[in-house]
């Protein structure tokens, strides 16, 4: 060896393109965290591929010094599947949004997750269509007044994590664009996970839905409105860490610690639970009735599509030998004309 390999710094992962998101957009901090995490992991840039669909978040690949496809609306998981199935050596990230991933691309998202192909999906949830200038999205709250719903949205919103868990996702997490440290940790765990990683990140759209997540980011309230999940730890939250989540029958309830309630009575987080019921229950906890959990909801092992696909090829070769065209052409009933 002629010296150590050059160390990649976060800036080395930046492409030469000017970033063109609106000033103050939550995407900036997501981009910054991504570069930091990749540098921390020292992922070779040529092994990285970012794939996106259409929407504000989907411009992400242009800003990374990596390989990338800015695809068509909603189809990023499908491109990623074809790429990862043929090139398991690459680290593939899918960048999508609430409209791209859950509306037009809902089908692909669902099937990518259930196949457990080893890609990392980050869904930037801002509860609005930004690039088309402010229509309600599949995660907009009931009653949301937008350009296309002046009388209030009457579409019951989808909850990204509930969907991912319903599709048997093997890694499910949530974080918040401005919670830099937390998001960085979640990203790193997603990168480490083998199989589909699904991260929902609350992302503030300063132009069309500003303040949508103030309840979860506001310095004074976030300790009461969010709950940081830790594996093996009871669900405790609140500025004074004096509130917890207890199970009553099949439903969660908020309880005050003390006065006959101890930590032992609380629901304990198990991100490795084989059954996804607990993760699903957590994904259903919503503000203002509950604090919204952030962190890793679920991480389990399951066979990966690209591994199984390539195993089948190896098995076929072990049984029949490597394919040989001449031998193939002679299969079946051939005859000779002389």
């Amino acid at each position: 060896m002629s010296g150590a390999l050059p160390v990649l710094k976060p800036a080395d992962y930046a492409s030469n393109q000017d970033v063109r998101w609106c000033p103050g957009c939550g995407n900036y901090s997501i981009l910054a965290q991504m570069k930091k995490v990749l540098a921390a992991l020292q992922v070779p840039r040529e092994k990285l591929v970012f794939i996106s669909g259409i929407g504000c978040s989907s411009r992400f690949p242009y800003y990374m010094q990596a390989y990338g496809i800015h695809g068509i609306h909603g189809r990023a998981p499908a491109f990623a599947t074809g790429l990862k199935a043929t090139r398991p050596d690459l680290q593939v990230w899918v960048i999508t949004g609430d409209g791209d991933g859950l509306s037009i691309g809902g089908n692909h998202l669902m099937h990518c997750i259930r196949r457990n192909i080893d890609v990392n999906i980050i869904l930037f949830n801002n509860r609005i269509y930004g690039l088309t200038k402010g229509q309600y999205s599949p995660t907009s709250r009931l009653g949301a007044v937008t350009k296309s719903s002046p009388a209030g949205s009457i579409d019951n919103p989808l909850h990204p994590l509930s969907i991912a868990i319903g599709c048997e996702a093997t890694f499910v997490a949530r974080s918040i664009d401005t919670n830099i440290k937390h998001f960085g940790e979640v990203l790193q765990r997603a990168a480490d996970h083998r199989g589909t990683s699904f991260i929902e990140v609350y992302q503030n759209c300063v132009v069309f839905n500003d303040g949508a997540f103030d309840y979860a980011t506001d310095r004074d309230h976030k300790a009461d409105t969010t709950l940081e999940l830790e594996h093996g730890k009871p669900l405790i939250f609140g500025k004074n860490r004096d509130k917890g989540i207890r199970l009553r029958g099949l439903d969660p309830e908020i309880v005050e610690l003390g006065a006959g309630v101890s930590e032992r009575d609380l629901l304990c987080h198990d991100e490795q639970a084989p059954e996804p019921s607990l993760a699903y229950l957590l994904s259903r906890m919503r503000y203002p009735e509950f604090p919204e959990p952030i962190g890793v909801f679920r991480t389990v092992d399951r066979p990966r599509y690209e591994v199984e696909l390539n195993n089948q090829i190896e098995a076929a070769r072990a049984k029949k030998g490597r394919g040989n065209l001449e031998a193939l052409f002679q299969t079946g009933d051939s005859w000779t004309v002389s």
């Binding site: 990596a66 496809i69 499908a78 790429l83 199935a85 030998g321 051939s334």
Partner: protein, 626 residues
């Protein structure tokens, strides 16, 4: 000369036989009667005997249409001949009808005086009702012009397998083998190949093997002993060019062609697809061949299928997506992206009757406009069409050659008729197959600029693969600057890029052979055809030429761009006739491109052209040429 069978024939007739040049036989029955299997066996046996063969399976879209009804009739037609043939034949020499519905829906295709063999046991009141008949068609005089032979097939088959004590239900499922045996006797076909097939197909059920063997031999013996047949027929081997042959269906040939292209260009094949009639057999074939490193991906929908293929192409695989008309509509946006990304990709459309769900199991050529124009924006791509089942093998390889040389998606059109039809395919020697050279840019050291949209002399951009140090680049659907690939909204750049993509595809014309003409260099009528009508048009034109008529024939493989000499060929004849199984799509292209006043002969019945109707049309057109 044939080297047809291994070992002695299973049965030898002692009756007299008559020598024929060829024969067209159709078997028809209920879709649960095993008709397609019967037809395939008859075809393979005839091919092994050395006959030239051409087939036309015709079946309902429903998996099990109501039994006994006209809608549930499944048919399989085969022509076998001692000379070159290109079609499964217009009219039938022999029709085998397993029930009344099959008889009444097929008998009109029988030649005058032709032979019709019916399963007499199925001609009863219950079956008449199912076939919507109020009387017995065997007794109403409607078959007066034919030789009718009634065979109690159900009873004879049950008797043949009786000692195996399998029960009536299983016994009746052997009936198609009885019919097969009878047809084999009638045309002097050897039973060996089908006996081998029975053993390999039903090997794990010795009782079923025995039953089918008994039924097959009983059918043959019936022909030999019954007084109903005075003699049988013989069709000698055809004088095909020397070589080894295999009877191949179009979809299988297409799958093998794709595989050969992958192997000979050093690529692993990736097929992203979604099941759709009549294209699914390509998936079925390729997924069996995993030991070649083929990855088949059955996607969640047509869109994911093409997008996964694009992802695989980006990663450096030989990427293919297969579909039929409705699926191609769904893929349009993805194909448009592939044009913009300038990645190699093969899109196979096995056309069927449209629009919409249309006629899923019937043939048509009505997706030519969609293939050439069916995308948003100015979105050109090369379009090729296969001419026959065996030709699918060659066209698939040619599609890949063009895709990689020009870094473009290529559309390959097949159709239900050639996809399910079969013909002898001369097994090629590997060294005779075309090899496609593919090169990927080498790694560059830090600091050197890589230009993902740089161009070679064909205007193709480099195919740089993820994983290559220094070549990191981003591609996408947004308009981009030439050479750098950087997103650009500049109006002059956009116009230049639109022109560039068009020019690149137009350049394909200089990379393909000149169009061949079958006929004199000039004359009265030029027949211009494309796709699966090749066989019928070739046969019709040759028949007219043999009669001394001034007719030429051009059959197009390349539909976009056209070969360079098409304009010249069109102008060499006084009149141009374009037969198509659509309302005139190629004719419109020819008229628009070459200002030729072409005449159409169009048919959209879900059926291929008959040779006779083409001959009549050619003659009628010639009569009006000065």
């Amino acid at each position: 000369m044939p080297a047809a069978t291994d070992g002695p024939a299973d049965r030898v007739t002692s009756k007299q036989f008559i020598q024929l040049e060829g024969a067209t036989v159709r078997v028809a029955g209920d879709s649960g009667d095993g008709i397609q299997l019967l037809g395939t066996q008859l075809t393979n046996t005839s091919a092994l005997l050395g006959n030239d063969v051409a087939t036309f399976p015709d079946f309902p879209a429903e998996i099990r249409a109501p039994r006994g009804t006209r809608a549930g009739v499944s048919g399989f037609q085969v022509q076998f001949s001692s000379h070159d043939i290109f079609t499964p034949g217009d009219h039938l020499d022999t029709l085998v009808a397993m029930n009344p519905a099959a008889l009444v829906t097929n008998v009109t295709d029988l030649k005058p005086g032709g032979l019709v063999i019916v399963n007499e046991d199925a001609f009863n009141a219950k079956e008449f009702k199912l076939a919507n008949l109020d009387h017995n068609p065997l007794e109403d005089g409607s078959l007066a012009g034919y030789q009718v032979i009634r065979v109690p097939m159900t009873a004879l088959t049950r008797k043949a397998v009786e000692e195996l004590e399998l029960g009536v239900k299983i016994a009746d499922r052997c009936r198609n083998f009885f019919a097969m045996g009878l047809v084999y006797w009638l045309y002097g076909r050897d039973l060996s190949a089908t006996l081998r097939f029975i053993r390999s197909k039903f090997g794990n059920r010795p009782d079923i093997v025995q039953a089918n063997e008994k039924a097959l031999r009983a059918g043959w013996d019936y022909g030999e002993t019954t007084e109903a047949f005075a003699c049988s027929y013989r069709v000698d081997p055809a004088r095909l060019p020397p070589g080894s042959y295999l009877n191949l269906m179009g979809n299988q040939a297409l799958a093998w062609g794709l595989l050969a292209a992958a192997e000979l260009s050093g690529k692993d094949l990736f097929l992203g697809t979604y099941p759709i009639t009549p294209a699914s057999d390509i998936l079925h074939e390729l997924t069996k061949l995993k030991h070649f490193g083929i990855r088949t991906f059955q996607a969640e929908d047509e869109i994911a299928a093409v997008c996964a293929a694009i992802g695989a192409a980006f990663g450096g695989a030989m990427a293919v997506t297969t579909t039929s008309g409705p699926g191609m509509a769904l893929k349009s946006e993805g194909i448009g992206l592939a044009v913009m990304l300038e990645l190699p990709l093969i899109v196979v459309n096995v056309q069927r009757g449209g629009p919409s769900t249309g006629l899923p199991t019937k043939t048509e050529q009505a997706d030519l406009f969609q293939a050439v124009y069916g995308r948003g924006g100015e979105c050109p791509l090369p379009v090729l069409a296969a001419a026959s089942p065996a030709d699918c093998f060659d066209v698939a390889q040619e599609a890949w050659r063009i895709a990689v040389r020009f870094m473009t998606p290529v559309m390959l059109l097949s159709d239900g008729y050639i996809a399910n039809g079969s013909e002898p395919w001369r097994i090629p020697r590997l060294e005779d197959l075309p090899r496609v050279e593919i090169s990927h840019p080498e790694p560059v050291t830090d600091g050197q600029v890589f230009l993902p949209y740089d161009r070679d002399k064909r205007l193709a951009r480099p195919w740089a693969l993820p994983g290559t140090p220094g070549l990191m680049h981003r591609i996408g659907g947004l308009e981009k600057q030439n050479r750098t690939g950087i997103v650009s909204y500049d109006s002059d750049n956009h116009e230049a890029m639109v022109q560039l993509r068009a020019r690149k595809v137009a350049h394909v014309a200089s990379d393909i052979p000149l169009q061949k003409l079958d006929g004199p260099p000039a004359g009265d009528l030029l027949v211009v055809s494309w796709g699966g009508t090749f066989g019928a048009c070739t046969t019709a034109v040759r028949r007219c030429q043999a009669e001394g008529l001034s007719v030429g024939h051009v059959h197009l493989r390349y539909l976009n761009p056209f070969p360079r000499n098409i304009g010249e060929l069109l102008r060499s004849y006084k009149r141009v006739l374009v037969p198509e199984l659509n309302l005139g799509q190629l004719r419109t292209f020819l008229a628009a491109t070459y200002l030729v006043d072409a005449v159409g002969f169009n048919k959209v019945k879900g059926k291929p052209f008959a040779v006779g109707e083409l001959v009549d049309r050619i003659k009628a057109e010639l009569a009006t040429v000065d």
